[in-house]
Amino acid sequence: MCAELLPELITADPWGYPIVTPGPVPGSLLPLARRAVAACPTLALLLSDEE
């Protein structure tokens, strides 16, 4: 589902789990990223503030 919400950064593997493009989330995609994290049925995604 997260791959549907954020196709720019997430694709789904054969088992439905997210493959995330490495690197920081561009500012314009941040609200969508937050939504994708909240929407994951198993909370498999994490948005973190790395310094």
Binding site: M1, E4, L5, V37, A39, P41
Partner: protein, 255 residues
Amino acid sequence: MTALTAALQAGRVPPAAIVVTSSTPLWYLTRATGLVALVLLTLSMAFGLLSSVRYQRPAWPRFVTAGLHRNTTLLAVAFTVLHVITTAADSFVSIPVQDAVIPFISSYRPLWLGLGAVAFDLMLALAITSLLRTRMSYRSWRLVHWTSYLCWPVAVLHGLGTGSDASVRWVLGLTVACVALIAALIAWRLAYGWPENAGARLAAALALILALIAGGAWLAAGPLQPGWARRAGTPVHLTTGSGTPRPAITADGAP
């Protein structure tokens, strides 16, 4: 005892011609919001079940189901709150707000109203835990979410047991349609392969069938039979001499 009731008892006013009391608008609102809440809760449950079978089409991504599930639930909660408020505000029957959250303490149809309180409490728990999902453990959230399988049927029973409109054809039809929809979706979920244990699936399927049969039997013998209001626990002073509740009629007295 009002003059109207006295006249009724004396047989001078046919029951079917009872004029609306000043609280009728609230009475209509209570029934209306209750019905709408039930439909919304049914839709919410339906979208939840659709989610569990991972339904997906090119024009219907999974996040649409998720979003609709979320929105219908919030609307259902809103309408249930309205339903509680109109019920409490209605001075014709004394049902204070606490009767809506603490089950079975009401003096009006304690069992059936109490079921409404149970359903309402569960709805609040479901909604709040889901809003706080990212802040709680996944396991706990999932455990609470399971109670939705209890919440919805209890709400249906509350509607049939407390509501005075069970015998009205379109209301009955609507309720039956809701039950049919959810039963069909549950069957789909079982067929989809959950729970994994085949024995558990079979048991769940049997439980579903038994519940439908039992529900139908109860409906036929209970709310659909005359005299249900009294048997359900409506305080005597609210029923007419014949034991029927305030009829569901329009202002000019036509049935």
